[in-house]
Amino acid sequence: MNLQHYFQQLSTDYTLLIITLGTGILGGLCGFLGSFAVLKKQSLLGDAISHAALPGICLAFLIAGVKDTHWLLLGALVSGIIGTVWIQGIVSRTYLKQDTALGLILSLFFGFGLLLLTFIQKMDNANQAGLDKYLFGQAATLMAQDVQIMLWVSLISLFAVLLFWKEFKILLFDIEYAKTIGLPTKYIDIFLTSLIVLVIVMGLQTVGVVLMSALILAPAAAARQWTNKLWIMVLLATLFGALSGISGTALSASFSQMPTGPVIVLSASVIVLFSFIFSPKRGILMREIRFRKSRRAIKLNKALSLMYRIASKHENVLVPHGKRMLNDFKGYSNVIFKKLERQGLINYRQNSWSLTEKGFEKASNLYNQLGKDE
């Protein structure tokens, strides 16, 4: 199957449609709430939560005895929340730092989950098949029921964010100020974190424990580069997330053996890379260009003011001078002379230069300004 084939199939193949819809909604939702996670400076909390969910999934299965999505989700949610609370506990009650706490919970919970998982796999229970899909996720197992849950969570999140928009915003931007205007910052924080935990847990089945955090981070990190307005950032992140989800599914359906989760994450990473480089305001490329431009402008201005200093010693400031002394002392190359000439600031001949009237005026302004700065 190739990409074209994929799109043809989309209208007829119900399963494929469900999967595409599911990954698209999931990606969008991750971008949507991920924006808040990134701005909360909790980028890696997602990583810890997704790993911490594993023992919950296994325990839920052990208790319920069946592989019911709702039960497993609930188990994941509970253990994800316990992990989050414990991270806060470690940071506030011991002298260990945030990074250590995150790494600890992430790896210890996961290890315990793995113990349970292998324990379950050895049991005589035909139901357990597919439990290990939570490690890497498998979009192919998405069913209409799962997509329905995603839709509900999306609606709830959308509603919550619209309702508490300004509260979330001020909490993330300036928490002390939020306290002074009487917001219950602690509860708003818990509410927002719970929403983020919920979406992470929901995505595990599709993207897997290992890569889930990237789907939270990447769209938001990319979106941040294109705008300075929060609502545009959230909107863009949602779009980027949905795009990653759908393109991941399309690619992995088109080429056999391509695993969906990693392809989704890689799609998101490509969007991030593109944004980092080409964003017009913050991007690395534009920054480099601006940097070079300003360096060139400084060089030209320096040359011009040096010329002004030489020229202003003479009665007629427009009289030609030899270019050798400029060349020898300051290393100004012909390129600079030519640039200045092109701007009409100097007349340039083989071995001499002279300021034009326009050049003299500009140079004297410049010189006065520089003098003031010094």
Partner: protein, 248 residues
């Protein structure tokens, strides 16, 4: 000040400690309405902590704070706060106008969005601080002084009775300093109470009419012309602290 001047802020037996480190001890302080007051004291004297505990950001160990005879939680709308510069996320995707609009959030209450009236008020505050042209700038693209003016504008929008400012003049340019002081004096002339954590002792007599000396304990409080003297400065800053007082 005559005796009938109401008390804007009354602090009683206030003690604050971070874990075992005491920051403020047994502070009794009354701030009369309408004063333009500087809080001065050495580093670590608890100046910021005093403001934060008045505003309920820092929970005190003991004591009480009353704003016009009521606890702060009932008087939030009468109070505006300009935090120290470090406390916000400068890279947050938000513009200068956006930040000033946040000043209206408190009076809007839950769920409501700022509308046309709020926007008008925000633009007016920006204009008052000479920052109207910068309204669409992302805040990290502003200079230190401009940022400070934005946060002052946010406080102005709140239409409060009492203004608390944590070192608003720290590291700002001369233009900003003048603009801020002008606004503070304007507020004071309208009968508002303004409390400012201040570092530069030289300018206290010029800028303020009331002063509180603080160093973990309250050393003195009162009109600048009566109590801003070498004696109190020495008590606050340690042995033989002298400042040549310039009177204008």
């Amino acid at each position: 000040m005559n005796l009938e001047t109401p008390i804007a802020v009354a602090i009683h037996d206030l003690t604050v400690a971070y874990n075992h480190k005491p920051v403020l001890w047994d502070i009794d302080l009354e701030i009369p309405e309408g004063v333009l007051m500087a809080i001065v004291g050495p580093n670590g004297a608890g100046k910021s902590t005093l403001i934060k505990s008045i505003l309920g950001i820092q929970k005190p160990l003991a004591g009480s704070v009353l704003i016009y005879d009521q606890p702060f939680s009932k008087q939030r709308k009468k109070v505006a706060y300009v935090p120290q510069k470090g406390s916000v996320d400068w890279d947050f995707p938000t513009t200068a106008l956006d930040v000033v609009l946040m000043g209206t959030y408190g009076s809007l209450g839950w769920f409501k969005r700022p509308g046309l009236n709020e926007k008008k008020a925000a633009l007016e505050a920006l204009e008052q601080m000479g920052m109207l042209d910068f309204r669409d700038r992302q805040i990290s693209e502003l200079s230190g002084g401009q940022q400070q003016r934005i946060f002052l504008a946010r406080a102005l929008v709140q239409q409060a009775e009492i203004y608390f400012m944590d070192e608003p003049l720290q590291g700002v340019d001369a233009t900003t300093e003048k603009a801020i002081i002008k606004i503070l004096k304007l507020l004071s002339s309208k009968g508002k109470t303004v409390v400012v954590v201040h570092h530069d002792l030289q300018t206290v007599p010029e800028y303020f009419d009331w002063v509180t000396f603080l160093n973990v304990k309250k050393i003195a409080t009162g009109p600048v012309k009566h109590i801003f003297n070498d004696d109190n400065l020495t008590k606050t800053y340690g042995i033989n602290y002298k400042v040549s007082l310039q009177t204008k």
